[in-house]
């Protein structure tokens, strides 16, 4: 593997780990492990217990956002490292 390919792979893994940390925090963190703590608060503007909201709504919204962030960042990274697929194949 060339040096630039190695750098690309490292940057890729770093991005994935960062996004997975958020993924873990909103579902296993807010929705499961700390649900009782968060349930003492409510979602701002509503009366919904916060931990319960994360488990049944919030985590799903964050999941969708995570994939779109990944797509945008990866596509940009592909171009920076010159490994993108061009406009057509």
């Amino acid at each position: 593997m060339s040096r630039s390919a190695e750098a690309y792979w490292r940057a890729n893994v770093r991005l994935v780990l960062l996004l997975l940390a958020v993924w873990f925090a909103v579902s296993y963190g807010a929705g499961i492990l700390f649900v009782d703590v968060l349930d003492r608060f409510t979602l701002p503007g509503t009366e919904v217990p916060l931990g319960f909201w994360f488990a049944q709504q919030g985590s799903i919204y964050v999941f969708v956002a995570l994939i779109f962030v990944y797509v945008v960042r990866m596509n940009r990274m592909d171009r920076e490292f010159g490994v993108d697929e061009g406009d057509d194949t």
């Binding site: 593997m1 390919a5 690309y8 792979w9 890729n12 893994v13 994935v16 996004l19 997975l20 993924w23 579902s27 296993y28 929705g31 499961i32 492990l33 649900v35 349930d39 979602l43 509503t46 009366e47 919904v48 217990p49 319960f52 909201w53 488990a55 049944q56 709504q57 985590s59 799903i60 919204y61 999941f63 969708v64 995570l66 994939i67 779109f68 990944y70 797509v71 990866m74 596509n75 592909d78 490994v83 993108d84 697929e85 061009g86 194949t89």
Partner: protein, 573 residues
């Protein structure tokens, strides 16, 4: 028009639509048949993936489960959506770059081993057949209840439709019918949800209504629900009763299982480029999230509705839908105290004097979504629409699964296994014949469902989580992972998970209680532990055995960069 006429009309119209789409998009080559010629646009693929994934279980059963389990039902919501993040970030782009036709294809090539390929084929077949049986049962329920035809006839009609477009169209036909089916099912899910939301909370958007106010009592909806639960002796709706560790592991098993399901993974082989695979995972989850964020709202509305309409009412005055569902055996009333009133209460219920009250009502969880429009007194056409939506969900998933079965036989077993010299034409015929046989077997399972469908579906998730996911992930992210490690890991993961589930579900069901489970982890969640074991064993074994050969290293370099994806092709590593 009455409910039945509406149902016949809407189901008939949607079926005609699926057949028309299937004829327009039929397959002409094995590439068309397995991966739709890799020419599917990311948006269409996202929609097809959403329909592929959302089965009769998501459409019919999930809101009902959440409705009865409250917070505990969150495991399905997080588990069945969070898996897409894993799929999008860790698997889909690389598998698309590799450009195989099936999942066992990748496993067999990456681990340079026919044994690994064969183990993967067995897992794929097992997972898919279990699932298909569940879908056919869903078809049977809808037909039995709304069209008042025999369940067997219902399954036969469903089989006929799937047979037609899966066998004729292959992946190409399936993809475009799934796009149509997504539109049907999401419309059918949202219409009653919006009606209910307006009825109960006065808010048009169910997701907002969920966080809004119950009009009847003036209290916030969830507070009102917790109050009703306490009054009737159920655990609080927003609390749940499963242990934290169990919720954690069930969620993990469902998430990882989702990312390892072959019928979902192969959808990402159908797009032209790596970046299309990435974005179509995003579209897929967005389309899925529309239903999955609506479901908990529907669950809360349905629960409120049910508790306020049936509880403490005289049985003689029970509404019409109550008696219809009772007629098909999915609701039951047993007047334990002989007062002629329906007592629907939880385990902690007591009367004014403090004496315990016994529950007299049983409700099959699977009927909540179907019964909802009737409970709320919505127009007849909404009921028909829900029936058509449930069928769309069941058929779209069944078709995707049948394709996995067919390609496992014709491609993995024949072409890449026992008959490598088979011609393109012969392979296509074999694919169609095995799809046909699979439809018949699935139909038979639907008419004579094994008594343990629910356990077996949990088994399928645990199996996918503890076998496929670690092997594929390590195959991409670890250069050192070799044949010996992968096979040892898969075998350990599967054996452990299967043994735990079989012991508690079949050998000793009496012991299936939290005090007997290891660390309080239920058989539903044990796949998460199996996955960890798989990773650990694979890593250790791979360190003490020779590294993978040179061609595999070169293949790894290639799949890690997007450039040069092109069409699906065969690599011999």
């Amino acid at each position: 028009m009455n409910v039945q006429a509406w149902t016949f009309t809407l189901v008939g119209l949607t079926f005609a639509l699926y057949i028309a789409v299937a004829i327009w998009s039929r397959a002409r080559s094995t590439r068309d048949f397995y991966v739709a010629g890799t020419g599917v646009s990311p948006l269409a693929n996202g929609m097809a993936t959403a329909a592929d994934w959302m089965s009769a279980a998501s459409f019919l059963s999930m809101a009902g489960l959440i409705s009865f389990q409250g917070y505990d039902g969150s495991v399905y919501l997080m588990g069945w959506t969070g898996g897409y993040v894993l799929l999008a970030l860790l698997l889909a782009p690389y598998l698309r770059k590799y450009g195989a036709f099936t999942v066992p294809d990748f496993v067999g090539d990456r681990y340079y081993s026919q044994v690994a390929r064969f183990v993967a084929v067995i897992c794929a077949l097992f997972v898919s057949f279990t699932y298909v049986a569940g879908q056919m049962r869903g078809v049977g329920i809808v037909f039995g209840r709304f069209l008042e035809v025999d369940v067997g006839v219902g399954v036969l009609i469903g089989m006929g439709i799937v047979f037609f477009y899966a066998v004729l169209g292959g992946m190409k036909g399936i993809t475009y019918t799934q796009v149509t089916q997504y539109c049907v099912l999401i419309f059918a899910y949202l219409v009653p949800a919006i009606f209910l939301s307006m009825l109960i909370t006065g808010n048009v958007v169910p997701q907002f209504g969920f966080a809004g106010t119950d009009l009847a009592s003036g209290l916030p909806l969830l507070e009102r629900l917790d109050g009703l639960h306490q009054e009737l002796g159920f655990a609080a709706y927003t609390d749940g009763s499963k242990s934290t560790i169990d919720v954690f592991f069930i969620t993990a098993a469902l998430m990882v299982g989702t990312a390892g399901l072959p019928h979902v993974i192969i959808r990402f082989y159908t797009v032209p480029r790596v970046r299309d695979a990435r974005i179509s995972a995003g579209w897929a989850l967005l389309f899925i999230a529309v239903l999955y964020t609506t479901a908990p709202a529907v669950a809360a509305f349905a629960r409120t509705n049910l508790l306020t309409t049936v509880s403490d009412r005289p049985y003689a005055e029970a509404p019409e839908w109550f008696t219809t569902w009772e007629g098909v055996g999915l609701m039951g009333f047993d007047d334990v105290n002989g007062d002629g009133t329906i007592q629907y209460v939880g385990p902690n219920a007591v009367d004014a004097s403090g004496a315990p009250v016994r529950n007299e009502l049983t409700i099959d969880r699977d009927i909540m979504v179907l019964a909802n429009p009737e409970i709320a007194g919505l127009p007849d056409w909404v009921v028909g629409l829900v029936a058509a939506g449930g069928l769309a969900a069941a058929l779209s998933t069944a078709a995707g699964l049948l394709l996995v079965v067919s390609s496992a036989v014709s491609h993995d077993l024949l072409k890449r296994g026992f008959r490598p010299d088979i011609s393109e034409r012969g392979e296509l015929i074999a694919a169609r014949v095995s799809a046909g046989v699979a439809v018949v077997v699935a139909g038979w399972l639907g008419i004579n469902p094994p008594a343990f469908v629910a356990e077996v579906v949990a088994f399928a998730f645990g199996l996918a989580a503890s076998s496929f996911f670690p092997v594929i992930l390590l195959g991409i992210f670890s250069r050192r992972m070799n044949r010996e490690g992968a096979i040892a890991g898969m075998v350990t993961g599967i054996t452990f998970t299967a043994a735990y589930i079989v012991y508690f579900s079949f050998v000793n069901p009496a012991a299936d209680t939290p005090e007997h489970w290891w660390f309080g982890i239920s058989p539903e969640g044990i796949g998460g532990v199996g996955m960890v074991l798989n990773f650990a064993v694979a890593w250790m074994v791979s360190r003490v055995t020779p590294p993978p050969p040179e061609p595999v290293q070169i293949m790894l370099d290639k799949i890690r960069v997007p450039r040069g994806a092109g069409a699906a092709h065969e690599i011999s590593a």
